[in-house]
Symmetry: C2
Subunit: 248 residues, 2 copies
């Protein structure tokens, strides 16, 4: 992404063209959706969302009660592969379907768990369509503050720094980044749990870390890192704070 992608100046669009909304749904509990998101979904005639190929869509499940029976649904079946090409092809197809609806004058509400621009899949749709269509992004509650709320663990205060690291990063980089940070959030723990746990242990920070899984959902888990499972689901996170700055 470069600054050239920033849509600082509105561009002219045919008035007959529909508008694309990238709507953040929050971390999982349906009532952690914003009022704006709920209103847009209730009134939608077309929604779009990613789904695990052949499987469920977490985004759709959050919004399910608000989607009208008459609403048309564009499903982007995204395969979870290490190579990017299959996922890129799925977003190419999804973007083409969305574009067809926009060209026909329909607004399209793209559903995104969490926030569309914070590790959200909406970015792949945005990258393909934002130069040709009107796009509005509705921010949502991210998983990081939802996890902090569930854990009763403030993330950052005053002049504290906060670093967000994806769990798939190489071990050396994780260690260096955690070592140089104050408050740390490690996203997408999943199958990287053993590596991450080992890095935190080597740094002597295990007793400062909390593991949160499926925050705000009925199956939510919040435990000290020492008690976390060996294998974590994709929607899991580790919060770590060094308490460098007394926050009272």
């Amino acid at each position: 992404m470069t600054i050239d992608d920033v849509r600082l100046t509105p561009r002219p669009h045919p008035p007959s063209q529909g508008k694309l909304y990238g709507v953040g749904l929050g971390p999982g509990a349906a009532d952690l959706m914003t009022l704006r998101a709920a209103r847009l979904i209730e009134n939608a005639s077309v929604v779009a969302y990613p789904a695990l190929a052949g499987g469920d869509s977490f985004a759709r499940s959050i919004a399910a009660d608000l989607i009208a029976a008459t609403c048309r649904e564009i499903v982007m079946d995204v395969p979870m592969t290490v190579e990017r090409a299959p996922a890129q092809a799925a977003y190419d197809k999804g973007a083409a379907d969305i574009a067809a609806a926009l060209d026909a004058g329909e607004d399209v509400i793209c559903l995104c768990e969490g926030d569309p621009f914070f590790y959200g899949s909406f970015m792949y749709v945005f990258a393909r369509l934002s130069d040709k269509y009107r796009v509005e992004v509705v921010p949502g509650v991210t998983s990081i503050t939802a996890c902090a709320a569930s854990a009763g663990m403030p993330l950052a205060a005053r002049n504290e720094r906060l670093t967000v690291l994806p769990g798939p990063l190489p071990e050396d980089e994780l260690r260096a980044r955690i070592d140089g940070a104050e408050s740390v959030v490690i996203m997408k723990v999943g199958r990287h749990m053993a590596k991450i746990r080992s890095v935190i242990e080597v740094l002597g920070l295990t007793d400062r870390a909390v593991y949160v899984e499926r925050a705000t959902l009925p199956q939510e888990v919040v435990v000290p890192l020492a008690d976390a499972p060996e294998i974590a689901p994709y929607f899991s996170m580790i919060l770590l704070t060094k308490g460098a700055d007394p926050w009272l």
Copy 2:
């Protein structure tokens, strides 16, 4: 803050005691509040919020339309001083007022702009009361994803790292942290604008940075950093991305 503050195990509380809610209101636009926050505020008999001493409360202004006429309001007049003692005294007083309401069996809804645990003032109330009262934190949309949405600028995708830095940090530290980061959010720009702009210029990153002021409010400003004002308000932010990882 230490891990000891994490409320991982519910503690027994007298059933007659009220419950304290720390409720995130989002970045400013009233409809970027969550459904849960709106429901809690509409039904509140006591709300509490910080205000600039002798002045307005941004938090209250976001929620204003939802507060019942009969609702009692606990105002924490927080002076904006460099020394901490006057603000600490204000939170001591506010916490005592809130505690009195909780002891009387009333629930108290503490209003917080953004998210309560993300640079939010609720942390000062939480630190004073969470060991004695039941507390629930309702996460909110943070200013960082709201600013990204307004700027049309994705914050982080896939394995990108994101660093959040408060503007008041010393110049040397800002430079080192920005230099070692991928995507950067600089919060609380305010009177630190000249210093921050100089750091970003020295690093050759000015054309990668966007300035956002009062995101989602009618007075919102979104401009390239080069066009940002010399003096920024407190509620302003700089987003910077190096585009190290192609995000398509």
